[in-house]
């Protein structure tokens, strides 16, 4: 406990360890996430990012160490933690047989909120899914599914949101849509912990970046500080070729309302 509870970190992780049989996935993970910030946990496949998220979301028990979310211990107060969080897993966890609106209403009901229908309609509007509201999710594109998935995570305005590889498998436009949604969230004071294997995603979004490697956090800093770890910048004059992503976005046209705000 710190002397000033209001500035207490939204997420605190100390000495977290987890093994699956003989595989020692987490070997003592420590980090804090400040309230209202975006924290990126970077790591290659199998580095243990999802394991960290599952422990914080009370889906998995740690072997050792402690973790707290919004001031609640994940092992001893899991019900309180669940009141404070929402989880968006690696694969869009949406109900394919229900419509987009029904998915949102379902989560609002399970969070015991008043007027689930209105909450659903608001979110459909915010995420540009109003036209597709009544369609079954099985007919949605990957980007629409992801947007619905994130919309479902926002129901009840949980103060802490976990996004586990939110843009894996999405096309460039859908990635930008997701990034915009995440930035908006943090702008409203929500704490976001996201895992990613894309360096540019961490660079675009995160206030702080930690690299998880072989079960430990090897660096944890702001992007500006991380850049200082490397040799000083050299000035070179090079012709800047457009990347294929620039070409792609120029040809298909960026999402008009999304990119305008950034």
């Amino acid at each position: 406990m710190t002397a000033r509870p209001t500035s207490e970190p939204a997420i605190q992780v100390q000495g977290l360890e987890k093994s699956y049989q003989k595989l020692h996935v987490l070997r003592g993970v420590d980090f804090d996430v400040a309230r209202g910030s975006i924290f990126a946990l970077l790591g290659s496949n199998g580095a243990g990012k999802t394991t960290v998220v599952k422990i914080l979301a009370t889906l998995l028990k740690a072997d050792a160490g402690m973790a707290s979310v919004d001031g609640f211990d994940v092992a001893r107060q899991p019900a309180d933690v669940r009141e404070s969080i929402s989880l968006t897993g690696q694969f869009a966890a949406v109900d394919e047989i229900l419509s987009g609106r029904e998915n949102l209403v379902l989560i609002a009901q399970l969070r015991h909120l008043k007027d689930p229908g209105r909450i659903a309609d608001d979110l459909l509007e915010r995420f540009g899914l109003t036209d597709a509201a009544a369609r079954r999710v099985s007919t949605y594109s990957g980007g629409m599914r992801r947007r619905l998935d994130i919309a479902m995570s926002l129901i009840g305005n949980p103060p802490v949101i976990f996004l586990d590889e939110p843009t894996t498998g999405l096309d460039p436009q859908a990635r930008i849509e997701v990034w915009n949604s995440v930035k908006k969230l943090a702008g409203q004071g929500t704490t976001v912990l996201l895992t990613t294997q894309y360096l540019d995603e961490a660079e675009q979004l995160a206030d702080r970046i930690a690299i998880l490697h072989k079960g430990r956090i090897i660096v944890n800093d702001t992007l500006a500080e991380l850049k200082k770890l490397l040799p000083p910048a050299k000035v070179e004059y090079i012709e800047k070729q457009p990347t294929l992503e620039d070409v792609f976005l120029a040809l298909v046209g960026e999402d008009s309302n999304g990119s305008a705000e950034n």
Binding site: L59, G89, A93, V94, I97, L110, R111
Partner: protein, 254 residues
């Protein structure tokens, strides 16, 4: 604390799962079609050669057909639960502040509703094929009670592969032996003609006592001890399957 939400959460999840059923009504139809096909086959092809004394064959075999209907229907519970586990929506539910066992109860109650609809369809077809009973309200109530208990018992068995299976095929394969059990019982032929060891098995497995109890209720005969043996089997299977499923579920959600 969580129990205050149990009923409401279960009702919401039941509603969700029932929508899955109504949006793929084939799950109810296919559940009903196989037992109806077996019934047609036995009544019009094999039945004439089976001596059931003075009882019409459709009357004789309907109880066994009803149990086959349930045995094939519960495999959809394993299938739907497996899909929830695989798609990640299961984890989403578990990370919500809900009564956690509500996730399973939603599936179990859906199975009960879907199977009762299938049973009504099968009984309707049996009536068209000449099934007749003078059973009164209480006898029907008793039959319904046994079938509900049997459905709950088999559904909790179905929850186990739904939680642990590695593939959808694996999740539903458990139902085949359950579907076959009525064939080695008094459901289609009297056990008296079977060779010793088979007969011993047939007469001491749960289906025989359940079939005999339902048959007696339909025929307005005194049910004797069969109904108590039948109820004991159903309750025992229900309790064991429920406990095993709950242990696996707790381990799964850790």
């Amino acid at each position: 604390m969580a129990t205050t939400h149990f009923t409401g959460d279960t009702a919401v999840l039941l509603g969700r799962s029932l929508r899955h059923v109504t949006r793929s009504p084939d799950t109810i139809i296919t559940t009903a079609i196989m037992p109806i096909a077996i019934m047609v086959l036995f009544v019009y092809v094999f039945g004439g050669a089976i001596n059931t004394d003075s009882v019409s064959y459709v009357n004789y075999m309907l109880p066994g057909i009803l149990l086959i209907t349930i045995a094939s229907g519960v495999s959809y519970t394993a299938f739907r639960l497996f899909n929830d586990m695989k798609s990640g929506i299961f984890e989403r539910f578990q990370s919500l502040p809900i009564a956690r066992s509500g996730v399973l109860w939603g599936h179990v109650l859906t199975s009960l509703v879907a199977n009762l609809i299938s049973l009504v369809i099968v009984v309707g077809v049996a009536f068209l094929m000449g099934f007749r009973t003078g059973a009164g309200f209480l006898a029907w109530l008793a039959v319904t009670g046994i079938l509900v208990l049997f459905t709950l018992a088999l559904t909790w068995i179905a929850v186990i592969p739904g939680l642990v299976a590695k593939s959808a095929d694996g999740a539903t394969a458990f139902s085949y032996p359950l579907i076959l059990l009525p064939f080695i019982s008094s459901a289609f032929v009297p056990t008296g003609t079977m060779p010793g060891p088979v007969r011993a098995f047939a007469e001491h497995q749960p289906v025989t006592s359940i079939v005999n109890a339902i048959r007696d209720l339909f025929a307005q005969r005194p049910v004797g001890t069969d109904i108590w043996i039948a109820l004991t089997w159903c309750v025992a299977i229900l309790i064991v399957a429920y406990l095993v499923a709950m242990v696996l579920y707790r381990r799964r959600i850790s």
